[in-house]
Symmetry: D2
Subunit: 371 residues, 4 copies
């Protein structure tokens, strides 16, 4: 069977750009995709950087101007892995040019931008996809299926955190993640993952009350200058879901000891599910029952779970982070083909940003805020 | 050495009364106490019940009226294990009569009562002790020492929950715990444990924003009548500590799968400590460092930790819940002797109640409330 | 109901003697025992030591000669907590005098002694009980029930270890546990626990091949003299069970990091059970099945499991090591009353010793040895 | 920098052949390899199968005869992923033709074949590599470094198992893994992994005593015929290492509940390391010390550990099974370039086979057998 080709322009050649390029290649080898993805253009602000990266990644063409991608009618998808500030202009231009857009999270640095991007997507009618990598985990797919099937009853609570510690030390330098206008701060940078997870599993968030905390008021930058930090090192919030459930959300990049602690527990009237990304090939499930042998069951990922089998035919062998990214790319390509897809759209990402923004407003204004 | 005797009147002969009686006996065998505790009187509203319980527990005297204990000048300590509504009148009368008072938690059913009790304690100058059993764990003592010694640096976050599931089923009956005027609801009934833990380890709580949720608006009582439930099944809150740290607190008696899930993590600039009561002979400690072998270390309780050695000379053998109660009684007896003691006082318990009350007000009024 | 009294003579006033005294008291308060146990005599080689211990433990009478206990017709049970060498003479004399005998493990220091003790028990027709404390755990009772009910199918394997590390350091001194004629060495001292567990759960052991290893050929004693060590620091063995299952057994007191690591997994054609004493209020159960949610379930001890409920009416609160000893005493008292009992008899303990002896012979002679 | 090309002939197009092809591509993208690996020929017994697989994997040439690879002077490396019986003839022919040989485990189906292969490698002077995938884990590299650095002192014990359950059910069909002359049975099929791990970390094995057990004497094959099973379902052995340490090894494909349970603990006089492949991005390390905070530390894989950083710049994200295979391929390519390499050679694999053979002989003959 000859599949149509999906020509992709990749914008951004940093770590995430490289990850995209590798994931497109891996996805094509791993899955039977409806389209044959081919990264044909790499754009980066600096032409020489673009040239070098394109060469090393086997991408045929390089450019110093992302507008070249927009203008090229042969490009079907624009994949955005630039600094956050550029997401909006590139995405909107690409959508207006009729391209599918696959964008890294966070969607934008302001709610206004995120809304404009979502509106552009709606106006264009083109599919969109956003890089919430952790949602594409086969064990998260299993969690969602179990919840939908009523295995834990009516959901009553979701409590989760995204905990890392790369800024825990006073010596962690001031960098772009500390700039508020680049979507800096723990809430914007990593909090979006736990908000997205909460919405993915427990549904819409109706109301929040949150608090931001900056542990280090200054940090030294690479030049040795002490810079005032105005973004949050951690965020804590109470949430009420549309379905009546309540819970807590937190995000911290100063959570000493946690390297990739995207962790949650979702409880219902008949059971609970608990998870941590630090052991992401496992899911713990509790189902209430009359017996003497109830308890949390540790389910080990295997080919019977979601896309695991595309990577390994035997259970317990484990997939890795890059494999999650590969599944994410598969979803984006399926969306691009107009097929039903697990891809998270701009509208989904906007909902995440609205919750983050509501937490920020609650911190400033006090009290409950509706996203 | 002949020790003075501490004559104790025990008020209440239910489960907790019995636990007190056994713990006084166990504490005297286990520790070298400064006073010889002797439960000499058991009072219960029903004289026959008092009589029967006293006989079975080897207590020489029984009474149908707790006032008899107050009136008896030979009684040095009054131990209160009655329904919560009676805590205040008994405690205040006992303090006014110059007795030491050892009271079960929660201190009272209203803030006004808790304040009156604390004022009575202050006016009397007599020692008080409150039954926050979980704080007396040797591993919690270790946690406190580590924090005080700066092992985790400046505290930046405390996130904790008291999770049980005895009310998770729709079939769990309406009982006294569902009565608001008896300190019913998850927040009052079990939430006090996690609030007390937070204050014990992270210090004073300056501000809270919280939410209560009632999953089952009605429950059927023992007579088969459907009763409206006005108390909370679960509580979620954001807290800000006086030292600037933030975090979350939750309490739930519908947390499916959790039997004694008093769990928390406290993080600082140099490390973290995590704990769950379901494995309470362990403490997990992370200390930041330059090496390649950092991680959470699971410390196993042994005789080098607090009072563990009084129960067992070898590590890893584990103490049980009743042993924690025995340590609590030791603290109460030490307080009664006027010695430095780990006992939590009425003032400590009032601080807990004030936080619970602030969460309740925040739920009603919205926004941040100061305890 | 007035129960008959069981008068007990306790021989030995060291740590284990004291533990016995406390456990008899605790058992009587905790359970509805068929007999009222009363420790009426404490014997110890040194009369002054006996006197002091009796006073501190509230035992009315003390003696410097255990024969006094045998001679006293009012004594119904002799509880032996002496050095191991004395188990045989005391037990045999007590049985010949018609007493119930409750003896600490290991039963004896030689197979010949253990056989003589078991023969004396048979000849006397009197009940016996041996202190295999860990077998009395409610979660081990649950494991046994699950296996008997076929929940894990036909047993195919048992693999276990008793791992501690109190001799792991080169600085751990030479002491009585290093004396071969006092049942010294890891196999004799702690290996008996894992052998007993294997037999308790997987049945008779038909054949063994084992290896002893002495990591430190000399250790310094308390006087500063370097002493040659002739006992094993660790033992490893392959076992074949009478039912065809195979597995491994190990014992080590140099297993760095393990404090009370009595751990095993028992597997069958339909499931597995795994356990470690370091978290002894839990049992992990796997049951094979067609679904996508199979895995090991962590069962948390509660009142629905064996004798747990006698200590605490709520699950998850945990019982401690001393509570296991209390359950052991209950079994001994029930055996003394002629009731069906979980107590392990001298015959059971002899079977354990025979396996240990077979491992020792296999080490010396090579090859498979039948116990 | 232009690197020389390494032309590779891949023999075998089943699951493992495909895994090789993908891993060569992934290794080249992930690492800076000294040679540019290019799979230029795919051979399979069936020409049409070879053709189809080559097309789908992007391999330019296909053949129905592996001898074509040997005859082609342009081929630098022969990668063998055929049924086990063919390993020896292909490897020996390839070595005699001067090729580097990279072979899947087990090395051969008989000791004689394994010896002949190793002799051919020695005679040819060509590098060899064998697919012991689990040894290439960054956390195993860390374990080895810690042991070499004396962090756990003198090694005293290694106890390990390779536990899976894909044959646990009576319904698991008779297949090629049940054929003794194809290296069938749990010991040969999966036991080689735990033997290799033991040797990798604890050194040479001097002596073994082992036992094989066949739980199901017959199994039904795909045609519905009941076939006698003569291979083992599980193996248990005691081992003595050359350095005096002792321990146990086991392998089972009927270990209900285990999916990829390659698990071990290695203990020394100053510490211990424990590991399970089911959470292979973690290593647990215990170091003895004077303090009150000793315990097993759970180390989470990150870029500071071995080759992890080539896959992900952030810790805790986790690598997957296929990434381990990619690291294995890197080692094979480095060996092919004549560089120092972590690749396991035919001589290493022969040592593994000799231990497996010794266990088999011990089972037949009884007693201790030297590999």
């Amino acid at each position: 069977m000859t599949r149509p080709t999906l020509n992709i322009a990749l914008i951004g050649s940093g770590f995430m750009g490289r990850a995209h390029a590798l994931a497109f290649a891996a996805a094509d080898r791993t899955f039977e995709l409806p389209l044959s993805p081919r990264v044909v253009l790499l754009a980066d602000r600096d032409p020489a950087t673009a040239q070098g990266a394109a060469a090393s990644l086997g991408i045929p063409k390089a450019s110093g101007d992302w507008r070249e991608a927009i203008a090229d009618p042969g490009i079907g998808m624009v994949a955005i892995a630039t600094p956050n500030l550029l997401h909006a202009p590139i995405a909107i231009a690409a959508l207006e040019a009729g391209k599918v857009v696959y964008c890294e999270k966070p969607l934008a640095t302001t709610i206004a931008d995120a809304e404009a991007m979502t509106a552009a997507a709606a106006a264009s009618g083109r599919p969109t996809a956003v890089g919430f990598t952790y949602l594409y985990n086969p064990m998260i797919a299993l969690a969602r299926e179990l919840i939908a099937a009523g295995e834990i009853g009516e959901v009553t609570a979701f409590r989760g955190i995204h905990a890392e510690d790369f800024m825990a030390s006073a010596d962690a330098p001031f960098n772009w993640r500390c700039e508020p206008d680049q979507a800096g701060g723990a809430l914007a940078d990593i909090g979006s993952h736990i908000i997205a997870m909460a919405q993915h599993l427990a549904g819409d968030i109706a109301s929040v009350a949150g608090r931001l905390h900056t542990a280090y008021p200054t940090r030294r930058d690479a030049e040795g200058t002490d810079r005032a930090v105005t973004v949050d090192d951690q965020m804590d919030a109470v949430v009420a879901f549309a379905n009546g459930a309540t819970g807590t959300l937190a995000a911290s990049w100063i959570a000493s000891g946690h390297k990739m602690g995207l962790s949650f527990e979702i409880s219902g009237t008949k059971g609970s599910i608990s998870f941590t990304q630090e052991q992401f090939n496992e899911l713990k499930l509790y189902r209430a029952g009359p017996g003497r042998t109830n308890g949390f069951t540790t389910i080990c990922a295997g080919p019977e779970h979601g896309d695991y089998g595309a990577f390994c035919p035997a259970p317990g062998h484990q997939i890795g982070y890059n494999d999650l990214k590969t599944i994410e790319v598969k979803a984006a390509v399926e969306a691009a083909a107009g097929l039903p897809s697990a891809a998270k759209s701009f509208a989904d990402a906007l909902a995440v940003e609205r919750v983050a923004d509501a937490i920020r407003r609650s911190h400033r204004e006090g009290g409950w805020v509706r996203p």
